[in-house]
């Protein structure tokens, strides 16, 4: 089966002027996404995890054309999405929709729910009559679990979970093939999170959608994803099926990340070993040489500073010179470094 989306060496660079710089000073490049490769199969969910500032949201915005990016993102029909002109891109915007993080902020407060959900439809299908648009909007509201008689209400009259359903309805109305969810549940409380995620899973099954699901909550990602990609400082650290990644993480960063997930069972929670990461995320304006993770890695060696590790290994790809489970000695070293 051919891939729905095949992304090669995607890069997003922002030109940043530091505070106090003269207006004509040369801006500094900030590599928010520094060469990301991944593939997405039809009907698959790809989870994207990483710390704040690792480029998750920028990656999403680059794919949908909200920020300029270089590299290659080949759609299923062979076209490179990043090379399209805005006019050519229009045809593909229908296929790729996005769900945003803040449910209320992503809805225009001055428009009714009906107008909000209808907007992609009226943009892409100007041939449809008003009654037809209204019927489709109502059908979509039913599908995402909203009362369709509330079509004339305004966003501020809904709860956060309902607002996110409105956001999902807006994304689905043009029958896309890919939905990019940028932390769709981080702003919701836990019980509502479960509802929204189950809704997404159900809709995905019904409609055969592909999802790119961005989150920083690892347990949520595990629940929804077929495959998971771990990002660090704009680079892919590890990408594997959800089962493999959570069961046998190879990259030291992934292991540290997973060890920090809280377990809702006090006996396991106290017994488990947390691998602390020392220091802060390095500035993406001056990333470390070689492997970007080496400054915080308990296994870093001379080679890590000299050579950039390639993302190797087929279905379970790791970008590390020395992959494999951390030994007890390495964990102890990380702990003592953290204590000091």
């Amino acid at each position: 089966m051919s891939n729905l989306l095949d992304v090669r060496d995607l890069r997003v660079t922002f030109q940043i002027r530091r505070e106090g710089d003269l207006p004509w000073a040369k801006p500094h490049p900030l590599h928010a996404v520094a060469g990301v490769d991944f593939t997405l199969r039809p009907g698959e969910t790809l989870g994207v995890v990483g710390e704040s500032g690792c480029g998750k949201s920028t990656l999403a915005r680059a794919l949908i054309g909200l920020v300029p990016a270089t590299g290659k993102a080949q759609w299923v029909d062979g076209r490179d999405l990043l090379a399209l002109t805005p006019r050519q891109m229009m045809a593909y915007r229908q296929d790729i929709q996005m769900v945003f993080q803040d449910p209320l902020a992503s809805l225009n407060p001055r428009m009714t729910v009906g107008q909000i959900i209808a907007e992609p439809l009226t943009t892409h299908r100007p041939d449809l009559g008003r009654a037809e648009v209204r019927d489709r909007v109502k059908a979509m509201m039913d599908k995402v679990g909203l009362l369709s008689n509330q079509i004339n209400r305004y966003p501020h009259e809904f709860s956060g979970g309902q607002c996110q359903r409105i956001g999902i309805a807006r994304a689905l109305i043009v029958e896309p093939r890919l939905i990019i969810c940028d932390e769709p549940v981080s702003a919701l409380d836990v019980s509502i999170q479960a509802q929204v995620i189950n809704l997404l899973i159900r809709l995905q099954k019904d409609l055969g959608l592909s999802l790119i699901f961005i989150a920083h909550d690892l347990s949520v990602v595990k629940h929804i994803s077929d495959r998971v990609m771990v990002l660090y400082l704009g680079k892919v650290m590890e990408i594997a099926s959800s089962h493999d990644l959570y069961g046998a993480p190879q990259h030291p960063y992934t292991q540290a990340l997973l060890s920090a997930v809280p377990v809702p069972d006090p006996t396991i929670e106290t017994a488990k070993t947390i691998v602390p990461l020392t220091g802060d995320l390095p500035s993406p304006m001056s990333p470390p040489s070689g492997c970007v993770f080496r400054t915080r890695c308990p296994r870093a060696q001379a080679r890590c500073a000299a050579e950039v590790p390639a993302l190797l290994g087929g279905d379970h790809a790791v970008a590390c010179h020395f992959p494999g489970p951390l030994t007890q000695a390495e964990i102890d070293r990380a702990r003592s470094a953290d204590a000091a």
Binding site: I64, M111, T112, E119, N152, R170
Partner: protein, 308 residues
Amino acid sequence: MVIDQTKMQSLSDRLVQDEVKGRSPWADARRRFWKNRAAMLGLSILVLVALFAILGGQFAQWSNEELDFSVMGQVATMGAPSLENGHYFGTDNLGRDLYARVVQGTQISLMVGIVGAGIAVIVGTLYGATAGYVGGRTDQIMMRTVDILMSIPYMFVLILLLVMFGRSMSMLFLGIGLISWLDMSRIVRGQTLSLKNREFIEAARATGVSSFRIIIRHIVPNLLGVVAVYATLLVPLMILTESFISFLGLGVQEPLTSWGALISEGAGTMNYGTLWQLLFPLFFFVITLFGFFFVGDGLRDALDPKER
């Protein structure tokens, strides 16, 4: 019975109910505005002044051009306000009926104010929203143009314009229109910049909505609160500007008149015991300005309850 029948009934009613009417942010603001007594007072004053401008002419015994020869030359003694000879507000220095003149002046002044503010709203909003939304170099060029226009002393330009091209209503509108939108465009641009990065704008961009539609459908409606408040404060400002120009003798030309021209005439003769010539136009001028300021304040409170 385990299940509360009435509750289930109300739930099922709700489910089959026809489309619920939502309460828009505008409707909320309207309710708050109706409750604001100062604003309602201001609004009723404005309505009365507007009615006066529209219908006041019907009740005049004299036209605004007629000279009353019976009072001419002895205005100070014979031209005082009286119901008997039909000069409700007295007469002006030439023996013209001041009531009819005030009606005419009210029409002209309100028109200047509303047209000036209207130009500011339309041009300023679109200009500012475009500059803010497009950003980058376009924004720089557009806003630096505004800066340059602003740095020119506008009163000087206005006077020059009126002197060079002759004093006419259209020239006055042009002059006032030229300057009135500058502040508005700055305010709107600032607001647009803060709106531009909101997620709902991103959502629209991601869907492929065109820039023009984003400005019209998403940005402008969210700006209208600020614009409405500023416009109501701009109307009195325009009236003041026109009055000042007229006071200098450069504004509207006889036989037309405006509040500023009437006040100027009245002020010129106030030493001769004809104080009514100053007080009647001044009264309308002052209450209208108060009315607009109260309404503007009320609108601000109603549209932005957090800022109170």
